[in-house]
Symmetry: C2
Subunit: 306 residues, 2 copies
């Protein structure tokens, strides 16, 4: 088996583990909440790369010396599930008719198409609220770690909110249809995409016991990965097909969005992806622990074809 | 001055204090987040009764013996602002075209009418996310109270989510246009309206140092208040005017909603309000501290004409 095939096998196992963790944290009671729980689960269990929880756990392992310390790992699992809920709610609301108006996501109908627009709004709200409820379970899971948990909660909230993902969404919405400078585009990408990658890795570092300056360095690495990931998205929107991506292509053109491809062309955009990727890997080598898997994951994310 | 006039004066002062607290916690930086901050502030600073933060603080004072202990009160203020943000986001999303489709609220245009539907969705998301960011500030404000703060956060999240307010919204949306039994209606009211009143008073109790059984009793009182408040809303929707209420009347009829008035008629509905109100006041007398103000507040809320 080549290294690549090995990596894909390991990744598959890790994705399965993450999906088990997410399912464990999903609300299970039935009765009156059955509809909303179905709608939450519909989007949350629709597959996907599980990138954010995976980055969180892998970063934790760097700082824990590869160990899964009992209480810490329970707290970490709560944050992994919470982060995936935040990511998912943002997709559910982003797909709404008043936003990007997308009918398909990951090859299946979007939440509001299946459950109605009102339930799409409520399912998104429910996922965001439940994300915080889930992360708060870390206190019970690891009573001795409450200082670290409070710090992790703060990062989770800030990077998801107006100083992070939502802030990016707002500029994106406001600027769609307008020509946008590289500076504004970078701000959108930094907030809309990189922020959750950053909080994922930073929370892993915090719970793993990283020092303050290490947490900052982890944030920088994640920023590079996030930006490269988003620019690759721009490239795939032009070069990919609906079949491989599981979502409509040329949506940027349809929505008159400025992207790295419209600003610089495909070749230059690819070079920038390459630069940011190299920078992330280089910085990663300065962190403790075994980086083999994370490095391969970065490369896969950045050079993915879907 | 009559007792009533005294009460109204005191209340006015308290509302002003609360609004100052909320403004302090509102995000202030400008730049790229300016639009979203404006949209958040537009709904959050639109006036209103400030009922939930007021109940939170008054309940705190019962258990603190009327004292405002420095660290505790800072933590409490963060939760007061957070709760009002949660309440406000729920109104913003509830008014959206895909939900109740209301153009007016508290006598002014609703958020999505002023800022567009996409910004209405995002402003609601931003308020919910920022509510948790705000409540989390309690940890820094009162480092010695982290156990109580974690307990308060748990209550805040649960009563706002699928086991509380959002759960109520979901049944409400699903059942609009259908005949609904008293049992289902009670569940909707308990979740949609009473849940946030409960968490407000319970969080006040927790931070004031109430014992476990006192926190439970506070929850029962708040449930009675919340149900009476909602049934009074049903009554006002039939007997009030757009001018006094600052929102359209007869909206329940328009939306084919089952209410206490459609189930029991106005007179019987008024009796039920009276019963629940009496029960709340009676239980309140069993709690420590000076209940004068809270009792008057309950009466005002329940017998309000707007």
């Amino acid at each position: 088996m080549s290294l690549k095939a090995d990596f894909l096998e390991i990744q598959k196992t890790k994705v399965k583990e993450i999906e088990t963790i997410i399912e464990e944290f999903l609300p299970k009671e039935e009765g009156y909440q059955k509809v909303i729980m179905e709608a939450m689960g519909y989007s949350l269990l629709a597959g996907g790369k599980r990138l954010r929880p995976m980055l969180m756990k892998e970063t934790y392992l760097l700082f824990s010396g590869g160990e899964e310390r009992k209480e810490e790992i329970s707290a970490l699992h709560a944050f992994m599930a919470a982060q995936e809920m935040i990511h998912t709610y943002s997709l559910v609301h982003d797909d709404l008719p008043a936003m990007d108006d997308d009918d398909y996501r990951r090859g299946r109908k979007t939440t509001h198409v299946v459950y109605g627009e009102d339930m799409g709004i409520l399912a998104g709200d429910a996922l965001l609220n439940y994300a915080f409820e889930t992360a708060l379970k870390a206190f019970a899971a690891a009573p001795d770690q409450s200082e670290k948990i409070a710090q992790a909660l703060k990062i989770l909230g800030r990077k998801a909110g107006i100083y992070g993902m939502i802030g990016g969404q707002v500029i994106d919405v406001k600027e769609t249809g307008h020509a946008v400078s590289k500076e504004v585009l970078d701000t959108i990408y930094e907030l809309k995409t990189a922020a959750l990658i950053e909080s994922s890795m930073m929370i892993g570092a915090v719970l793993g016991g990283a020092k303050e300056e290490e947490i900052i360095e982890v944030g920088r690495i994640a920023e590079n990965v996030g930006l490269a990931f988003q620019i690759q998205d721009d490239i795939l929107d032009v070069t990919g097909t609906t079949e491989t991506l599981g979502k409509p292509v040329h949506s940027d053109e349809k929505n008159e969005k400025t992207t790295y491809v419209t600003l610089f062309g495909i070749e230059k955009a690819k070079e920038i992806v390459e630069d940011k990727s190299r920078s992330a890997v280089l910085k990663l080598k300065g962190l403790p622990g075994d980086h083999t898997y994370l490095e391969q994951l970065f490369r896969q994310l950045i050079y993915r074809e879907k």
